[in-house]
C-alpha cells in the first residue's frame, strides 16, 4: 500500500503520456459541425446582381434532391484553389451546387464568378454580419455542406474541395444519399 502511493506519479504520468501521443494525431483546430443531421437553416438570400437571377437562394431550393451548398467570397484566397474543380463538377452534372457569397461586396462576388467561372445553380448573397453563414455554423471560406433530399445537412467539408477529397469522401456520400 505504502509503495503503491509512490507509484502514483509514474502511473499518472503514464496516462498523460498516452493522451499526448494520441493528441499528436489529433487536430485541435478542427471543430466538427453541430448542424449535421439537422435541417438547413431558414434563409431567403438576395440574388447576385448581374447574374440575371430573379431571386437568390431559399431554403426550399435545397429540398427534393441532393445538393451541395458552397460558401465563397471574392476575398477568399483558398476559394480560387477549389473553384476550377467546382466548375468541372458543374459540367459533369453530378450534383447541383448552390453558392453563398459570404461577407462580400456582391458586385465583386459577381465579377469574381465571371473571372473564375460559375459552378452554381443558384447563388445567394449573405452580407455582413453573415447571419445565414452563422446559422450554418460557418467559420471560414470555403466550406461546403451536403444536403439530402429532405433538406437535412448530412456532411460538412472545411477548406477547398480537391479532386481527391471529392472522389474519396464527398461523392460516395452524395451517391449514398441519392439512393434513399
Amino acid at each position: 500500500m505504502r509503495s503503491g502511493l509512490y507509484m502514483l506519479p509514474v502511473l499518472v504520468f503514464g496516462v498523460l503520456a498516452l493522451f499526448f501521443l494520441k493528441g499528436l494525431g489529433l487536430n485541435p483546430r478542427e471543430i466538427p459541425s453541430v448542424l449535421i443531421d439537422r435541417p438547413v437553416p431558414e434563409m431567403t438570400l438576395a440574388p447576385l446582381p448581374g447574374r440575371g437571377d430573379s431571386r437568390g437562394l431559399d431554403t426550399a431550393d435545397l429540398k427534393g434532391r441532393v445538393s451541395v451548398v458552397n460558401i465563397y467570397g471574392s476575398w477568399c484566397i483558398a476559394c480560387v484553389q477549389e473553384h476550377p474543380y467546382l466548375v468541372e463538377i458543374k459540367k459533369s452534372g453530378t450534383v447541383p451546387i448552390m453558392g453563398i457569397d459570404w461577407r462580400d461586396d456582391p458586385v465583386m462576388g459577381y465579377a469574381w464568378l465571371k473571372k473564375h467561372g460559375d459552378p452554381y445553380e443558384r447563388v445567394g448573397v449573405d452580407p455582413p454580419p453573415g447571419r445565414t453563414a452563422v446559422d450554418f455554423g460557418v467559420t471560414g471560406a470555403p466550406e461546403s455542406f451536403i444536403v439530402d433530399k429532405a433538406g437535412i445537412i448530412r456532411y460538412k467539408h472545411i477548406g477547398p474541395i480537391t479532386p481527391d477529397i471529392w472522389t474519396r469522401t464527398l461523392l460516395p456520400i452524395i451517391r449514398e444519399l441519392e439512393k434513399k
Partner: protein, 158 residues
C-alpha cells in the same frame, strides 16, 4: 500576458492589429444591454482565432458574432438564450466556460476531488506519524508491569 511566453516568439502570430476588437459602431445604445453584450462576448470563443474571446478579437467572424449577439439582446433574449443560440450553431466549443455536464464532470469536480484526496493523504500522513513514525509499536505490558504501574498510579493519586 497573452502573446508572451516562449512560443509567442516562436512565430507567425495570427494577430494582425491588436486592440481593435469592439468598435463604437457595433455598440448598443442602452448601456445596460451593451454591458451584457460585453460580458457575453467574453464568454464566447472566437472560432477562427486561436484562443481569444469574440470580445477580444478583431477577426471578421468575431465581429459578426458580436453584432449577432447584440441583435439577439435587442430582440429581448436572455443571456442564456443568446448562449443557446450560438451553441446551437457552433457547439459547446464556443463556450470558454464549459457547461457542467457528463463530459465535463471531471473538469469541474476534478480540482475539488484532488483537494479532497490531498487532504485525505494529509490526514493519513499524520495518523501514521502519530502511530509511531515508522517505529515498531511498543510491546504490551506484562501482567507484572501492569500491576506495578497500577500501584504507582494509585500512590500518586493519594
Amino acid at each position: 500576458m497573452r502573446y508572451s511566453l516562449l512560443a509567442s516568439l516562436v512565430l507567425v502570430l495570427a494577430v494582425t492589429s491588436p486592440a481593435l476588437a469592439v468598435n463604437p459602431d457595433e455598440m448598443l445604445k442602452d448601456p445596460a444591454q451593451e454591458a451584457r453584450a460585453r460580458e457575453l462576448g467574453k464568454d464566447l470563443r472566437c472560432l477562427v482565432c486561436q484562443n481569444q474571446s469574440i470580445d477580444d478579437s478583431d477577426a471578421d467572424l468575431a465581429k459578426d458574432l458580436r453584432i449577432i449577439v447584440r441583435e439577439r439582446i435587442s430582440a429581448g433574449d436572455t443571456d442564456q438564450q443568446v448562449k443557446t443560440f450560438v451553441v446551437d450553431r457552433y457547439g459547446d466549443y464556443v463556450l470558454l466556460k464549459p457547461p457542467f455536464k457528463a463530459s465535463t464532470l471531471v473538469l469541474w469536480l476534478g480540482p475539488f476531488a484532488l483537494f479532497g484526496g490531498a487532504v485525505a493523504l494529509f490526514a493519513r500522513f499524520y495518523r501514521r506519524r502519530k502511530a509511531g513514525a515508522g517505529l515498531p509499536a511498543p510491546a504490551p505490558l506484562s501482567p507484572e508491569e501492569q500491576r506495578r504501574l497500577d500501584s504507582l498510579l494509585k500512590e500518586s493519586r493519594q
